[in-house]
Amino acid sequence: MANEEKPKLKLAVYWAASCGGCCVSVLDVHEKLFDVVAAADLVFWPIALDVKYKDVEAMPDGHIDVTLFNGAVRNSENEYMAKLLRKKSKVLVAYGSCAHMGGIPGLANFTTKEGIFNRAYIESESTDNPEGIFPQTEYEVPEGTLEIPEFYNDVRSLGQVVDVDYYLPGCPPQTERLVEVFMAIVTGAELPPPGSVVGANDKTQCDECEREKSENKTIKKFYRPWQIKDDGKTCFLEQGVICMGPATRGGCGVRCIVGNAPCRGCYGPPPDAPDPGSKMMSAIATMIDANEDNEIQEIIETIDDPAGTFYRFSLPASILRRTIS
């Protein structure tokens, strides 16, 4: 039964440069849907409601109690909405890996706007564009001027654009964690200080992982996952396969490892390790079982794409932020 005395939480969900998976994770509440509906009014959610941008602009500041903002900041529309929703929301949550650290779209920080445009509109083998047309932020047609957002050269996380109250990590966040956080807000439980990570463990994946671990963690060679016959029960690192588990917060239920795939770090770094990639590189290198310079270099050669592996979800939030052109 809906409690009509207690005002309902005004909830908004918005996506910037995202895939929609975080919106799906919100919808994955399944049976708990009625609890959500009883406690919250959804006031803005493009995937589900016909509320438009002008409706949000018309809201008073702080009108929205909680906004779950997913997606990275890739273009001017994303940036505009991040700032608008910051103004209109009491609590702004960076929801999912993209808002938290840049996520997969953050891999674009390995390249540039020029690189992306050239690939997509000129070089692509199936694209026929002899005039070299690129999308323009403003374009005159006989009827008027058409506009599309400006594509920035760099991807940013939400926290690099506006002040964020909480980070709820994951690609996407495991729905059970969202429900826990949501119920905490709704029941008025005491929340951690602003800027905290919520909905994730302080300990790493290894703490929850059920694969067998021994004391022996030295590597003579690294393997790509398909180069070994995974026995399904031994720690990936001990089999020579890079797994980001030691540098990644738990809370997802080790879902990829359960699927026999090594962790790739979507839940982000544990506390006090703001740059997950460098800590992981330190740990991985230490594991190498060699002291001779040549031998070490040979083993390092078996690690392909360190930057794309150790910073799969976190390149924009890393110390270097992006490649130098």
Partner: protein, 488 residues
């Protein structure tokens, strides 16, 4: 010149806006559909290990990640010059059928049903799944939630991660199925078949039995005379996972049937300066602009086009529904855009039947799930049907299997030109001199878009949030058990 801007378009996956320009008489001069988003996957895949691509491209879309995972997995197999083991291919297809089941159910009940069950001109407050539930009963709403949840659980069982699946490895899959798991999934697949039949019955009882709706489908401003594309098996039956891409013309005559590695001979992409999304078209026919007809290379890749491009469905119940649909709509191919909703339900039934076939196949519990990889990695193309269109992934790697180049044509991208054209046609049909351009009218323009299911999958609801609404949950005798109220 009066200008109406719909920004953003809503109740679908993705970003987009529509600009409608009307002359001083109030008639529509032109409509522009613009996609404001671009992320650059084709570029930032460069430098990544090829087997990682399957897990990176799932993040192109969180609603059909399984589709990208499959196309990518097949492209990766091709890069290594191998086919997956027989058991692995079946496990992949089984996953894929569960993926189709959950997506098609969700789309029909959350998007299509409101416009038909509640009515295209109904108030927005009712024109959503809650309104549907009001008409057809809460049991169905709960059942939709449940079937979607089950389909997702099957995805998680086979693929680890329930959304961004991790099951594929070059030449196979990472995880097999035990006999106990198989038995559970078999019962669940039977449930899918029943629910699919039931969904078709709803469509028949509520839509087909209503002359107004049939009229809108057949004669409304939602029809395009364009080519149809879909993946077919060696018997030209619809297949989502494997086969060749077949394109038929406006009369149903075959234009081409190509293997994945031949796609650049038949499909090219056009660029416009006012949108980030490209416009694929048939290369041999050529780009003639946003026009339909045999001389224009515009084609669609949708449930309807898949059925148009095939000679039938490979499972019996779906085949019967296929025949019924074409008989009712006056023969094959069908060009009525809204018939996509019907075709989607026929596909739903096929997915369910096919899932049941696969789970009953003795090989499904085999542990021979990874092929040997004897070749040096090189180049490969993988094509599957995504729920919303033919999906192509093409990778080039060096001898270590590190991606050097990537080219991707996404399901919904195929439909960029038809969507633009459908929107314009709908706007021209609905917005005329003397018509009050209300929110409802603009929404009916958006309906032209939603038929294509542009990458959207939603559990069961679109909540109005700010209109008064009362929902009573009743038992079968009509006694009110619970009341939910929203007063503002």
């Amino acid at each position: 010149m009066k200008r109406y801007t719909i920004d953003p378009i809503t109740r679908l996956e993705g970003h987009g806006k529509i600009e409608i320009f009307c002359n001083d008489d109030g008639d529509v001069e032109n409509v522009y559909f613009q996609v404001p988003e671009l992320r650059g996957f084709e570029k930032f895949l460069e430098g990544r290990a090829v087997e990682e691509a399957s897990q990176i491209v799932t993040k192109i879309c969180g609603v059909c990640p399984g589709c990208h995972h499959m196309a990518s997995g097949k492209a990766t197999d091709a890069v290594f010059g191998v086919r997956p083991t027989s058991a692995a291919a079946k496990l992949r297809e089984l996953f894929f059928m569960a993926h189709f089941v959950h997506s098609h159910i969700a789309h029909f009940y959350a998007l299509a049903a409101p416009d038909f069950v509640v009515g295209p001109t109904a108030s927005p407050a009712e024109r959503n799944v809650l309104g549907v539930i009001g008409k057809v009963g809460v049991e169905i709403g709960t059942e939709v939630l449940k079937q979607r949840r089950i389909a997702q659980e099957i995805q998680a069982l086979l693929g680890g991660h329930q959304t961004h699946v991790v099951m594929n490895t070059p030449g196979g899959v990472r995880k097999g199925l035990t006999e106990d798991e198989r038995k559970t999934v078999e019962e669940q697949a039977k449930g899918f078949v029943e629910f699919s039949k039931f969904s078709l019955k709803i469509f028949s009882d509520v839509v087909l039995a209503n002359e107004t709706y049939v009229d809108i489908i057949l004669n409304g401003p939602y029809s395009l005379n364009i080519y149809s594309m879909g993946l077919v098996d060696e018997n030209n039956k619809v297949n989502f996972y494997d086969g060749k891409v077949r394109v038929v013309d406006q009369e149903g005559v075959e234009h081409c049937k190509y293997a994945p590695e031949e796609y650049t001979q038949w499909v090219a992409e056009h660029v416009e300066p006012y949108s980030y999304l490209k416009y694929p078209y048939l290369k041999q026919v050529g780009w003639k602009g946003f026009v339909d007809g045999k001389d224009s290379g515009v084609y669609h890749a949708t449930p309807l086009s898949r059925l148009n491009a095939s000679d039938g469905m490979a499972t019996p119940l779906a085949q019967a529904e296929f025949e019924k649909m074409y008989e009712t709509l006056g023969g094959k191919p069908v060009h009525a855009t809204l018939a996509m909703h019907w075709a989607r339900l026929v596909e739903l039934l096929y997915s369910a039947e096919r899932a049941l076939e696969l789970i009953q196949d003795p090989e499904i519990t085999s542990d021979d799930i990874q092929a040997e990889l004897p070749n040096v990695p090189n180049e490969g193309v993988g094509i599957v049907e995504a729920q919303r269109g033919t999906l192509t992934h093409h990778y080039w790697t060096d001898e270590k299997g590190i991606i050097q180049k990537a080219n991707i044509i996404v399901g919904t991208t195929n439909n960029n030109a038809p969507i633009s054209m459908s929107l314009k046609k709908a706007a021209q049909g609905l917005i005329k001199k003397g018509v009050d351009v209300s929110e409802g009218i603009l929404n009916m323009v958006e309906m032209a878009f939603r038929a294509y299911d542009p990458c959207f999958s939603c559990a069961t609801h679109s909540l109005p949030g700010h209109m008064p609404l009362i929902v009573n949950f009743c038992d079968k005798d009509g006694n009110v058990l619970r009341t939910y109220k929203r007063d503002k």
